[in-house]
């Protein structure tokens, strides 16, 4: 395992070393920890912001779950958090219920699983795993975080205004979101939502462009595209999806801002407000849905792909086996990424869209099942005849494969336009997307935190707490979302403040109680994680150089945070990252920096 450190001598390297000398000792606290341009610090900033936002999003869900299980009953917790205005005597106000559902969705989808997941791991792993000193542009990278921070802050602040935050659902369909008379949250709260999202889109674009450029241009010598770890492929494809789709969301938001504030009518037509016809007419609310879902569907994969990438690496390392079908995995991700742009209409089968157009979307959507199936089978085959090390990260990665399958198969029903009719917008959909996207992504993200904690904070998280955390989380995850399929099949629409107003749902109270109990268990389980996370950050066991015996480059850097990542020259790569348990070798891993033996074939090929 000799590291060939003398082979590289490119300009970029020399420039960076020089740069280092000049500035290294002058860094103030503000430069180092707040307005930092270092990818590792920015990664930690994203992670900690995302953890805080995740706690906020989770507490919101606990409050509305309490309301759903025991409607109209008072809870001290709800009153404690929301106060007398929004929860008199602890009974959740219907407007606040709508707001909580809306913000829970927005925060989880955008702040936690887009900004938090990509922001943390793309920043941490792209330079580390491709052998670069930092991101292409440290400055843009810093801006990306601070726009994300501003966006999160505006979203949180919108909770404290008089009329309450946005409450038209995370999809903010106009006209509900466009006309402030239609619900309290469509006033200032909605304006702040749009401002927050605009800031978020800026953040996402700055980050995404940086990730793409860094992966394309800053790979170290020998790191060809087919020697990239699957994590990097996932982040790379994710960034491309984001750069191509977020601007469309921005245009949707901009037109909505115009309709709301400047009297245009892109989305408004034939509307009566307070008994009088609205002057704005001639637009179409369906236009918004097209624009929204043109981002909205790629967004699902912007959330999911990084988690799948992290899982690929974690599963391979901990199975002590190469990931099965490396090239098929890349191909699947590319196929999923491409297809994700031509399936958005499956969210709109029953909007009155032309049925023939619906048929096209059925076809393209169901095609996605093929690369997804390939990925699932490849993960399972990677476990086969492995020597599985059950680090907490590995448990979460296996959990991800499970939820990816469970949530994925119900997608086959929902993608089928005819079958979608009776379950569209019911709890069946809620179950589907929470399992396939929410759970998979958050399990992958948490797994990533456990696995790369030594690179993030130079320490390890406690393994026993990690194991307990996983099992409680995994039990409560299915406990919450599996029964929701039954609610959906019983015809219960989503976003209902209570099911007690419609007699046909009277016999479903038990299911809601069960779901809420598991939700509370799940929330408590996350306290174990939070404690482990913050405690280990400061006082956890110091990590050794390569704790999991991994092949990838991040583990060749010294266990301290230095500018430029590698103290000497950049490492040179000689092989793909998945040479685990290769026959004829003494160790069960061969880092990427080890040259190929004479006659040895790279990439898992045979002699």
């Amino acid at each position: 395992m000799s590291m060939d450190i003398h082979a590289t001598h490119d300009l970029n390297d020399a420039h960076d070393a020089h740069h280092d000398h000049e500035h290294h000792h002058e860094e103030s606290f503000v430069q180092k920890y707040i307005f930092s341009m270092d990818h590792k610090t920015i990664s930690r900033q994203f992670l900690i912001t995302a953890v805080i936002m995740a706690v906020v999003g989770m507490m919101m869900s606990v409050m509305f779950r309490l309301q759903l299980a025991w409607p109209h009953e008072g809870f001290a917790l709800t009153n404690f958090i929301l106060g007398d205005k929004w929860a008199p005597k602890g009974v959740l106000d219907p407007n606040m219920y709508m707001a909580l559902v809306t913000l829970h969705g927005t925060i989880m989808v955008f702040m936690v699983l887009t900004g938090g997941l990509s922001g943390t791991f793309s920043n941490l792993l792209i330079p580390y795993q491709i052998g670069a000193r930092d991101m292409a542009s440290g400055f843009l990278n810093m801006l990306s975080y601070w726009f994300f921070f501003a966006s999160s802050l505006v979203m949180l602040l919108s909770c404290f205004i008089e009329s309450g935050p946005a409450s038209g659902g995370w999809t903010v369909y106009p006209p509900l979101s466009a006309v402030k008379e239609f619900m309290p949250g469509s006033g200032l709260g909605m304006t702040m939502w749009l401002v927050s999202m605009s800031l978020f889109i800026v953040s996402s674009l700055l980050g995404g462009l940086n990730y793409i450029i860094t992966v394309l241009n800053f790979r170290t010598k020998g790191m060809s595209m087919t020697r990239l770890p699957l994590t990097i492929w996932a982040f790379f494809i994710t960034a491309i999806l984001g750069v191509l789709s977020f601007p469309v969301l921005f245009s949707a938001a901009l037109l909505l801002i115009f309709d709301r504030s400047f009297g245009t009518s892109f989305y408004l037509s034939d509307i009566i407000v307070n008994g009088a016809p609205l002057e704005q007419t001639g637009g179409s609310p369906i236009l918004f849905q097209h624009l929204f879902w043109f981002l909205g569907h790629p967004e699902v994969y912007i959330i999911l792909l990084p988690a799948l990438g992290l899982a690929s690496e974690i599963i391979s390392v901990n199975s002590r086996k190469p990931i099965f079908g490396y090239r098929a995995m890349i191909g699947s991700m590319l196929a999923i990424g491409f297809l994700s742009f031509i399936v958005w209409g499956h969210h709109m089968f029953i909007t009155g869209m032309n049925p023939f157009l619906g048929s096209v979307f059925v076809f393209t959507t169901l095609l996605i099942a093929i690369p997804s199936a390939v990925k699932a089978f490849n993960y399972i085959t990677t476990l086969w005849k492995g020597n599985i090390q059950f680090n907490p990260a590995m448990l979460f990665a296996i959990g991800l494969v499970s939820t990816f399958i469970t949530g994925g198969v119900t997608g086959i029903i929902l993608a089928d336009s005819a079958l979608d009719i009776p379950i569209h917008d019911t709890y069946f959909v809620v179950a589907h997307f929470h399992i396939v996207m929410g759970l998979s992504a958050i399990l992958g993200m948490i797994g990533g935190v456990y696995h790369w904690f030594p690179k993030l904070f130079l320490r390890k998280m406690n393994k026993t707490m990690g194991h307990i955390h996983f099992w409680l989380t995994f039990v409560s995850a299915y406990g919450v979302f599996f029964p929701m399929h039954f609610l959906g099949l019983a015809g219960v629409p989503r976003r209902y403040y209570t099911n007690s107003e419609i007699p046909m749902f009277d016999n479903l109270v038990d299911i809601n109680v069960l779901i809420t109990c598991f939700a509370i268990l799940g929330a408590l389980a996350q306290c174990i994680f939070l404690f482990n996370f913050f405690y280990s950050m400061f006082r956890g066991e110091k990590a050794e150089q390569n704790p999991y015996h991994s092949n990838t480059l991040e583990w060749t850097t010294p266990m301290k945070h230095t500018h430029g990542n590698w103290p000497g020259a950049l490492p040179v790569v000689h092989r793909w990252p998945y040479d685990y348990s290769k026959p004829g070798e003494t160790d069960d891993y061969i880092p990427q920096t080890v040259p190929l033996r004479p006659g040895e074939v790279d990439g898992g090929g045979h002699h």
């Binding site: 020597n387 599985i388 009776p422 917008d425």
Partner: protein
């Protein structure tokens, strides 16, 4: 004051747990080694837990099927709904089989191949034959699913023959549904949102004679259930006056959004009357409903419409009792409703 105490208690709890954890850390540090490295014992325990989870998970699902299965929607009360249910179950069986097989493999492998200290994994980077199998088999199954799905979809969405249907309008606003029956001519009169004033809740244009015999009813929707051999359907024209709602017939497996600015369409043939369904379910209080299924504002959760499915005779008798929009007598001298400017044509009606 109470809040302050709660915060204080939380802070103290965290401090206490931290100190406790520190004690454990120090104690295990004395023993040496990498205490957070997983051992063979950990691996064995976790592998076993996956096996336990597999069994418990399937047991939980079976329990739910037994327990919640009877609470699901009863058999479809429309003709297309029955076909839809068949295809739904067909697809459900496929995905359930896939779900069970993959989960047995996933969790069983996790159990069987847990890490042993003296073991070495098998180097198995790829296999073209296997990969071909699990690309082509899902593709073949999906081809069947797509074919059957699209066949049914085109059947359901082929526009209704309004001459052979009872034409009914459903008009939505925050937070109720209004129903308009097309009257003797079975044609809905033109309407315009600018004409919604006072009693003219749907904005009917009094200049359009076709609308004079239309019947506007709030609070309930009556559906005729024709005999098996009668091909007559019910054809719905759906409009909205404020936000997007969704007209969701859970029992009839039908749904369509109502969108301001356009008229959306669905049609189906009801097959079971309310009375028959009550008998089938042995529940005297059973009723069909339409519920709103698109977030539409604060009281979204309470937006519903009672649906009464009845025999053609009952339906006719009930409908005869409902007042016309402009009975023939007053239609001769229309007053009040007419506006000076000619309203623009309603799209799509």
């Amino acid at each position: 004051m109470v809040k302050l105490l709660v915060y204080l208690a939380i802070v103290l709890l965290i401090v206490a747990v931290s100190q406790l954890a520190r004690v454990f850390e120090l104690a295990s540090e004395l023993k040496g080694g990498h205490k957070n490295k997983v051992t063979e014992r950990d691996n064995r325990n976790m592998g076993r837990l996956f096996l336990v989870y597999l069994v418990a998970f399937f047991a939980f699902i079976i329990w739910q099927l037994c327990h919640y299965g009877p609470l699901l929607l009863p058999e479809a009360a429309s003709e297309s709904g029955k076909k839809l249910d068949w295809l739904f179950n067909f697809n459900m069986v496929i995905i359930f089989v896939v779900f069970v097989i993959t989960h047995i493999m996933l969790f069983f492998f996790a159990f069987k191949y847990y890490g042993r200290d003296n073991n070495r994994a098998t180097f198995f980077p790829h296999n073209n034959k296997l990969e071909l199998i699990w690309t082509s088999v899902p593709a073949a199954v999906l081809a069947v699913i797509i074919f059957l799905g699209l066949k049914l979809w085109s059947e359901i969405t082929t526009p209704a023959d309004d001459k052979n249907s009872d034409v009914i309008e459903i008009y939505t606003k925050q937070f109720d549904f209004t129903v308009r029956y097309a009257g003797n001519d079975n044609v809905l009169g033109k309407a315009n949102y600018k004409l919604v004033v006072g009693a003219n809740v749907l904005g009917l244009d009094s200049a359009d004679v076709a609308g004079h015999d239309d019947k506007i009813v709030k609070g309930e929707l009556h559906l005729p259930v024709y005999g098996e051999k009668d091909t007559r359907e019910v054809s719905f024209k759906i409009r909205s006056q404020d936000v997007i709602h969704s007209v969701y017939f859970p029992y009839h497996r039908a749904q369509m959004n109502s969108v301001p600015g356009m008229t959306t369409l669905i049609h189906f043939k009801p097959t079971i009357t309310t009375a028959e369904m009550r008998k089938k379910l042995k529940n005297d209080k059973f009723d069909y409903y339409i519920v709103c299924n698109k977030i539409c504002g604060t009281s979204h959760y309470a937006m519903k419409l009672l649906v009464i499915a009845e025999t053609p005779e009952e339906y006719k008798a009930w409908l005869a009792k409902q007042p016309e929009f402009m009975p023939a007598a007053s239609a001769a001298a229309p007053s009040g409703m007419k506006t000076d400017e000619a309203p623009k044509e309603q799209k799509g009606l």
